[in-house]
Subunit: 157 residues, 4 copies
């Protein structure tokens, strides 16, 4: 991948059913349903997850809790990596780092996960999270993460 | 703070009501209640939060979701920092990094947040998270984070 | 800052001498000279540093050492933040996280630091590092960092 | 590894020549020699590297540059992981995160790398860095990192 080209250029899925596989996997994440998260975009190397505000997602000042922000950013980045993995693989978060840039105060969070480098075993992804408020969007978090492909272990195992 | 001494040595709270303040703040975090998290230890520079397993906390393989692990680790570390802040301050997560060391498969997570350095404005904390299964405990995540004290803004504002 | 707009849109320096200040500060970093690093671009919210290969920069396999990569990425990101700070401030690295995406094998590293969010006290920046080899460029590292403005303390203090 | 036991308990090297292998590898890191770093401790899961102050290691205020601090912390943590790897493996840094806790102002840095979890492929390590000044030691940085074992590729390849 060239550093001076757009990040997503040239990502080719290696499994034709990549989008359905992400949707199935997302549906099995109990936490995403419990938080009320919605999977809105699944493209090669790019996945988006949205989270409407609820009091059940708040920290002590009433904004979205950083843990909720991190949860959808982690899932968006992980599934972005998963879109590029072969049929017999599943995806595992090795680690992530997230900066909370601004108070996540608003009606809805949007996490946009993107693959930065897709390796055979390890992939590096980012996720930017914006908060929507009265129609405006504001960047509120940025995540950088390492994902691992577990070959020979399907996501249903 | 000496690097060769125990991390917690010598932490003196600057607000006598530090423990009640942490408990009040935790009770106002909607996300902690929604996840089912329990605040179990509040000491100067040291806070623990536990999370019993439920399907509502799972990732696609049925283990604890990394986002749930991160949420309690973030709160434990943040409240560890908060125990050392003066009366007129509140606490804000600037950023955190978490390594998921092993599958979080078990009955209960225990996040142990500890202050590594307490500054006037910025504090650096860690949190180790263990998963309990059939009576055994296993380290499953480790977090390193930067917390900020917002002076002149109480936690209730 | 809107998350869907280009990251650099609208960055206005608050000190007209921002570029000379960065060049002066870089010249006083003994480590940059010792490594052989060159400051090549200084724009509002965007700084680039290059590092020609030498055996004195290697890890055990002869590639650029991750510490050298991190050093120029840290400086590029920090100076990107510094371009946006007022005259009476200096810049301090709070923390950074770097992913080494590919072996840094080549003739030259190019670190491109960019501001993601410029706050009064804290700024969040990224730096992508590419390695050039036989005329091709390849992304080899990505950094996400928190920088702090120390107001009332000029960079020469 | 139990979370409530000392981190180093029970680390057994899988290659009897682990210490000589670390010393050989360190000697081939051109950057460590160029910075003036010294390898002082090599034990199973625990490696220390020291760095005497020189102007060639400074940032703009004359303290140790964060890049120099990161370089020895990265090497100490990586070699701590390497002590536990089998004979046919070499070690690679996947990513690291470092918090700079206090100005690194003093005569000497001491980086203490320790393994937190040793996996077959991935290991998670920490490194605390202290700065010595007039005989006192002060914690100045803390690193959390992911290291990878490359099996079938000796460190000399």
């Amino acid at each position: 991948m060239g550093a001076v080209e757009p990040v997503e250029a040239g990502f080719q899925p290696r499994f034709a059913g990549y989008a359905a596989r992400v949707r199935d996997s997302f549906a099995r994440q109990g936490l995403m349903a419990h938080l009320g998260a919605e999977l809105t975009v699944v493209e090669p190397g790019h996945v988006e997850i949205e989270l409407p505000y609820a009091e059940t997602l708040s920290q002590q000042h009433g904004f979205f809790h950083g843990g909720a922000t991190a949860a959808i950013a982690d899932s968006a980045a992980g599934y972005a990596a998963f879109t590029l993995m072969p049929e017999d693989a599943s995806v595992l978060t090795i680690e992530f780092k997230i900066n909370l840039l601004a108070p996540a105060q608003g009606d809805r969070l949007i996490a946009r996960g993107r693959v930065k480098r897709a390796g055979r075993v390890l992939s590096v992804c980012t996720a930017d999270v914006s908060v929507r408020r009265d129609g405006d969007e504001r960047l509120c978090a940025s995540l950088l993460t390492t994902m691992m492909a577990m070959h020979g272990r399907s996501d249903y195992a």
